[in-house]
Symmetry: C2
Subunit: 594 residues, 2 copies
């Protein structure tokens, strides 16, 4: 009897929820098939266990390396395909020169695993592709492959994680687990990288700033962008410009207008529909354009502003006025198309003052070029003068957004110089992880048929930690986490208040006794296979984000600081240490010098 | 009457061709709707004009920045939404410190444009998302938006291109063209970046080497990987490991086995099914395992090999033997799990010699760590000795594949050291474009309602070249391209044998007379809108690849060399030069020093 498995149809279902393709018939068929399958499979497939497929319908069992299928064939030929294997997914080095990583991508992995089933067409393609001819028995085998006998233990998505500790432990028939290797690595690698990048940007920007992800146009392809929007939100961003991501994941959306909008106007004379209702609907201003012009004159002649404002750009004024007429409650203007201080800011203020007359509060300005520290400061001064001069309480706090090729370094530089920016729009450097475009997660065999396996390498950092393991995070008196420790599967769990020896896995002199005040088991069961364990529910995106933010607050500040952070300690139990080194000596050939 | 437009249904159709979701009903519905739509729309929608949607079903009109929709609303409110706008898509700087770029992504753009239509659900989402309430008239407007009145002129995909020259010129109603801005940039930016990266790797590796793209697991998400596979193939790679990409695009697939496969075996005793037919089917070897063992002994005792081979790893030997039993015609072994020269290569040779007895020719070995120059040389020596010693003609040329974190620099270093590698498997650095993770294509308004527009900037390299333009590539006597030139839309075309003045767009002293031996117009009509022009057909992927390879051959070698390449000249006509500078002075405010 199959458990937890909903076949092919859920892929349609994911399309339905993901994209609402607009064909009711299509949707009905998806649901009908679901019901039919549920019936056919009996009560074991119940509604509570059904899971949508991955967000991107391109994530199918074929999204894998060909060698996973050639190996599956060779395992099958050798009668080894059902050997019980345990693989760990982990990385060896934190990205961006830092000492922490945010784990992300788990939900998509579980959705893939829950729906892992080859279609007949996919099977035909594989058999045509494998070198030589495929035996019929293998075709039958492929037809029956699913993840009903696979178990997945993972750290919660959004958790701060460290090198060598398994993020996922995947157990099951070796051929099936190998097929999962590539897509699972693909789904975790970029997700964790970009979530970490976002978290780093949040740490530099500070909690009080609004962070917007603006990377869609420069991302590595369509779902390089959509994934980035999702995982930047997890890492602590507040909103995205990417409408598709907003719709798929419910991430708040932000956006106003571009330079092209500004330069598409010639002059306010173009504006034909000039009337605007008051905010409370009580009356109508028949000529908002003239109201704006009159405020612009007042600004130009204002002594408080030092008569410094000359003629502003009329095409820009027309664009701002038009935008305000369309969105009087959400007026935010891009002020750097011509000249920020001589044109953009005065034009914005004129429109904002006119809107204020009609009871609308403007949102602010966006700067997309130039010296952001200086310009934001100058704009703030103008806002403060106007607040006083024209009696607009709060106008001095008008929001200033900055968005010109920002990254960790430029945010840090802005902090050092002092600035008046309230909100950052960050694109290219964030979503492409320009500073380090890949995270090197690996997926290593640690046990087969209950036999521990070790992968040796001349580079110690590449030696794998064998055995099916348990992983714990130990917390100290101040609430910070002190150390992660891996133990053998059957060792007793570390206990609160009890001293435990934590050893560096490869460096014999590095060790410490720890008396934990709190012990957290890191790996939880997200896909129980046939183990009968309770399946951990996948949390909502917002909850993952909250978890991530809380996790970062629990880190000792020196582990997450930007420059020269302290490495976090990752250790093994004394027993596991001994076993690693026993196995190592056992497997490594003794060199011979001649 | 609508032209060239196939509404929503083609999105399903793309799903069908792209993924074969396995539900016949679904497919039929897609086709039925297509037919129904075709009927409803009359003969203007004919089969020849139907086009599939983008490869990734996530590419919809919502894959855009929110500000494109807020602007659309503001344009609509101002009655400007149908103003006729011309936008250029171009980049400002070649990537990777080079002086050329390979243009890619066009097909996906045209597929998006051909199917650009908002669904009712998408429209509802937009209206809920826009700040404030959406007027009913705008909803109606959104419902009717398509690209039937948009014209797209583009350089052929796979062409070598240079900064400032428009890769695409998109003309149409300003609100619609702005909606296209973000997705089109997204589809071109990474595609061109990774195609260029692949071409650069090909140039360093040389024509004779086999290049395999192995990046799926480290790519930026699922279609970061699938796009990379597609565009690396265009840029000159031979094959990919990515099964999904192989299936979607017909790219050749490659793959054998991993370290986990090797370490999942314990010893040859495990192998139960030991028989192998001769290649010609004439007889059967009942114990292939023993045959391998006997060859291993001969190798170990061979004087020609200097008695240097001791005991090899038996788990590795078991894995190789099993793999050969599964794929006797395609035996390729990963030889670095334990020790390349002491275990992997001798084990490979034993299996290859046994296969040879049965009439099978082995493919080769793969090295995934260590000193690739040295190890490939040592392995080659062994192969050559075995060719002589055991009389296997051609065995000395057994293929050697290398695949350990390779990039342009390491390929270059291997060339300098000398090596015996025949084939490279390249992953992370290739597909994530690690050396430069983003290309900065922009999309700038150059004309609206026949009025040229210029975008100014204090940074001259950021000033846009105004006007609807034509672009030509001029070729010299030796067949190499000499210069690209942009002219106004209505200027006469440069003529073969006639002298023309080519000016640097911004540097008045840089100019040259050119007498072209061949003139190529770069921008072709890929989407005619209502212009009545003939639509350029989208070529097959293989043809794009061939075009790219031919293009690189036509480049003067100094433009494409790795170190200190010569910049290729991009120029404007004398008339366009004068106009740019007239407009510039006209728009830029005169500074005032106090």
């Amino acid at each position: 009897m199959r458990e937890y498995l909903i076949p092919v149809c859920t892929r349609h279902d994911s399309l339905k929820t993901g994209f609402e393709l607009g064909s009711e018939k299509l949707v009905i068929i998806g649901q009908e098939r679901l019901k039919m399958e549920a019936k056919a499979n009996g009560p074991s497939v119940n509604a509570g266990r059904v899971m949508d497929g991955p967000t991107n319908p391109m994530v199918t069992p074929l999204l894998t390396d060909l060698y996973q299928f050639t190996m599956a064939y060779a395992y099958w030929k050798a009668g080894k395909h059902n050997d019980r294997a345990v693989f760990d997914l982990y990385f060896r080095k934190n990205p961006f020169g830092g000492e922490f990583t945010v784990f992300a991508g788990l939900e998509e992995c579980i959705k893939l695993i829950a729906n892992f089933k080859l279609t007949e067409e996919e099977i035909s393609f594989i058999c045509e592709t494998l070198p030589g001819s495929c035996e019929e028995g293998f075709v039958k085998y492929l037809r029956n492959i699913d993840c009903s006998d696979v178990e997945v233990y993972a750290i919660s998505e959004g958790t701060v994680v460290f090198p060598k500790v398994p993020l996922l432990r995947v157990e099951g028939p070796v051929a099936v687990v190998q097929l999962l290797e590539t897509p699972v690595l693909n789904l975790v690698n970029f997700a964790s990288l970009v979530a970490t990048n976002a978290a780093r940007h949040r740490l530099v920007a500070g909690k009080s700033k609004m962070l917007l992800e603006f990377g869609l146009r420069r991302a590595q392809g369509p779902d390089g962008a959509i994934s980035a929007s999702k995982y930047c939100y997890i890492g602590g961003f507040d909103a995205t410009s990417n409408v598709a991501a907003g719709r798929l994941f419910g991430i708040p959306l932000r956006g106003t207008h571009s330079h092209a909008f500004v330069s598409s106007f010639m002059s306010p004379d173009e504006i034909l529909e000039r009337s605007l209702h008051r905010s409370d609907g009580s009356s109508t201003c028949e000529d908002f354009v003239s109201l704006v012009q009159s405020w612009l004159s007042k600004i130009q002649w204002s002594k408080a502003l030092g008569n410094s404002v000359g003629e502003t750009n009329q095409s820009e004024l027309a664009a701002f006025t038009s935008y305000a007429l369309a969105f009087p409650n959400n007026f935010l203007a891009l002020v750097d198309t011509y000249d920020v201080m001589r044109s953009g800011v005065p034009n914005f203020c004129a429109v904002a003052l006119a809107l204020n007359d009609l009871g609308y509060k403007s949102v602010g300005i966006r700067l997309d070029s130039g010296d952001l520290a200086y310009l934001s400061g100058e704009a703030r001064k103008i806002f403060q003068i106007i607040e006083k001069e024209f009696g607009l309480p709060g106008f001095g706090k008008t929001s200033i957004t900055a968005s010109n090729d920002l990254n960790e370094e430029t945010l840090d530089a802005l902090n050092k110089q002092g600035h008046e920016v309230d909100c950052y729009g960050i694109g290219t450097y964030l979503v492409t992880c320009y500073a380090q475009a890949a995270l090197g997660c690996v997926f290593k065999l640690v046990e087969i048929n209950n036999q521990p396996r070790i992968k040796l390498s001349e580079d110690v950092s590449k030696v794998s930690i064998p055995c099916k393991k348990r992983c714990y995070r130990l917390y100290g008196r101040e609430g910070y986490s002190l150390v992660d420790i891996m133990t053998g599967e059957n060792e007793p769990c570390p206990k609160v208040g009890e001293r435990i020896l934590c050893r560096h896995p490869f460096n014999e002199s590095k060790r410490a006794y720890v008396v934990p005040q709190r012990v957290e088991e890191l790996l939880k069961c997200y896909w129980p296979g046939k183990s009968g364990k309770v399946r951990e529910e996948l949390p909502a995106l917002k909850d993952i984000r909250d978890h991530c933010i809380k996790q970062l607050e629990q880190m000792r500040p020196d582990h997450i600081r930007r420059l020269n952070p302290t490495p976090y300690k990752v250790s093994v139990s004394a027993k596991l240490y001994d076993f690693i080194h026993f196995l190592w000596l056992n497997e490594a050939p003794v060199g011979e010098l001649q």
